[in-house]
């Protein structure tokens, strides 16, 4: 067992023009133990790139998701969640048993049956977004005009945002995830949204509707203040992640059109793109051995889901997009108690989005050479900044 690494690698390995996942992950997987990396701040973390060990990290009770623990990775201002002390209801930052109450309250909202019942509403949202694109001409910027619009409207519908307020909601949520927004603009949009959600909670507590906020208020498991944090979390967790998956999927499917309409493509797209590679940050709260590597209490850990999903031990020819394989067992939504609550909603949104786009715009194509596409090498999530399309 080695306790110190001979060399430190830089943490942010994504580079413009380089493939994603970073080719370095392949080299890391062949090394015994884990790889020690330096964050821009100078802090060090352990990188985990093998499927088996990513799952081990995400299920070990000696490894915490709580950013208030000493040593929790803080790569930058935009990477790293607030703690539940800072934002009550921010349950991704809580460990069991504190986490359990939130999960329990929210599970009924995301059951397979509940998500299936949302299909007509998602179809209506997708259809309207396509109507608007078609009405504007024969070109579009798909990220802004479609990929970000759809999940924003789906979440607002889920939360119970009245239709008249959805433009406001969509406009503010877009500011949060748009590259060109300044920090000031983002903070302001976040403040507006929080104020709006708090007002919505007050209204729903007096006049409940058929929506998530009303049911959770009536369920009584969460306080209104916690529900406000939960609503913001659902919004942020379900917006850009879904948008990136939709946009990248369009590019991949347009290159391999034979898979359009094949149900198996969704799981393979999720595995293949692994947009949330850097999302699961952890810290050891006791000494723990992972893959033969001693990780000391207080040391940060970054389980890389794109690394796990491209591990050839788990998926043969991992860098090929091949929906005929079984992508079952991918960890695109994480693993363990924090595995994405909204994953079945994402699957539904992707399915409805592709069905709608390729059925209604059969001549859809990317309007620029693929090498000119601007990928998100600079964000926490992998994706596309823009996707010019025409038909």
């Amino acid at each position: 067992m080695s306790t110190d690494a001979a060399e430190l690698v830089p943490f942010m390995l994504r580079r413009p023009g380089a493939p994603f996942p970073p080719p370095e992950y392949e080299e890391f997987r062949t090394k015994p133990g884990l790889v020690k990396a330096a964050l821009p701040s100078g802090e060090t973390v352990w990188l985990v790139t093998r499927h088996e060990e990513v799952r081990a990290v995400l299920t070990d009770p000696r490894i915490s998701s709580n950013p208030t623990h000493e040593g929790f990775p803080r790569p930058s201002r935009t990477v790293g969640a607030p703690s539940a002390d800072e934002v009550p209801g921010w349950f991704v930052s809580l460990d069991p048993p504190d986490h359990n109450r939130f999960r329990k309250a929210l599970i009924p909202e995301f059951t397979v049956r509940r998500i299936r019942s949302l299909r007509p509403a998602v179809e209506e949202i997708v259809d309207r977004a396509i109507d608007q694109m078609l009405a504007r001409g024969d070109t579009a910027e798909l990220v802004e005009d479609f990929s970000l619009t759809v999940p924003s409207l789906v979440i607002s519908s889920l939360l119970g945002v009245p239709k008249v307020d959805r433009d406001f909601f969509e406009e503010k949520t877009k500011v949060l995830v748009t590259l060109t927004s300044t920090d000031e603009e983002r903070d302001k949009a976040s403040e507006h949204l929080l104020r709006y959600i708090n007002r919505l909670i007050t209204i729903k507590s007096k006049r409940p509707g058929d929506d998530l906020i009303s049911r959770l208020l009536q369920g009584g498991l969460l306080t209104p203040q916690e529900l406000s944090g939960v609503s913001m979390l659902l919004l942020i967790a379900g917006h850009e992640t879904t948008a990136n998956n939709i946009s990248l999927g369009v590019v991949t499917l347009l290159q391999q059109k034979q898979w359009i309409g094949d149900e198996r493509m969704i799981e393979e797209l999720l595995r293949y793109h692994s947009v949330a590679d850097l999302v699961a940050l952890r810290v050891a709260i006791e000494d723990v051995e992972i893959g033969g590597q001693l990780v000391r209490a207080g040391e940060g850990i970054v389980p890389l889901v794109a690394g796990a999903n491209h591990d050839p031990e788990m998926f043969e020819r991992p860098h090929e997009f091949d929906p005929s394989r079984s992508a079952t067992g991918h960890v695109a939504f994480g693993y363990g108690v924090h595995q994405c609550l909204g994953q079945n909603l994402v699957r539904l949104e992707m399915d409805v989005a592709y069905r709608g786009l390729f059925r209604r715009i059969p001549t859809l194509e990317v309007a620029v050479p693929l090498e000119e596409l601007r990928f998100k090498y600079d964000g926490v999530l992998f994706g596309l900044h823009a996707l010019p399309v025409r038909w």
């Binding site: 995400l58 299920t59 999960r103 329990k104 599970i107 009924p108 995301f110 059951t111 397979v112 049956r113 079952t328 067992g329 994480g334 693993y335 363990g336 108690v337 595995q339 994405c340 609550l341 994953q343 079945n344």
Partner: protein
């Protein structure tokens, strides 16, 4: 034929089992796992093993 047991205390309602093995698992109104067929065989047994392998909460055990 295998015997299936679930630990509902561990279940986090991700519903991966329901998607992988809809003949063996379901969700109750609270979203937690319920077992429809506790002794699946053939294809159902194979899907139950897949479900056990992908359960994020490791709440499903397949007893041989």
């Amino acid at each position: 034929m295998a015997r299936i047991s679930v630990d509902t205390g561990k279940c986090i309602g991700s519903a991966q089992c329901v998607l992988a093995a809809p003949d063996v698992f379901d969700q109750d109104d609270d979203g937690f796992v319920t077992v429809l067929d506790s002794t699946p065989s053939g294809e159902a047994e194979a899907t139950a093993r897949t479900a056990s392998g992908i359960c994020p909460a490791q709440a499903i055990t397949v007893h041989d």
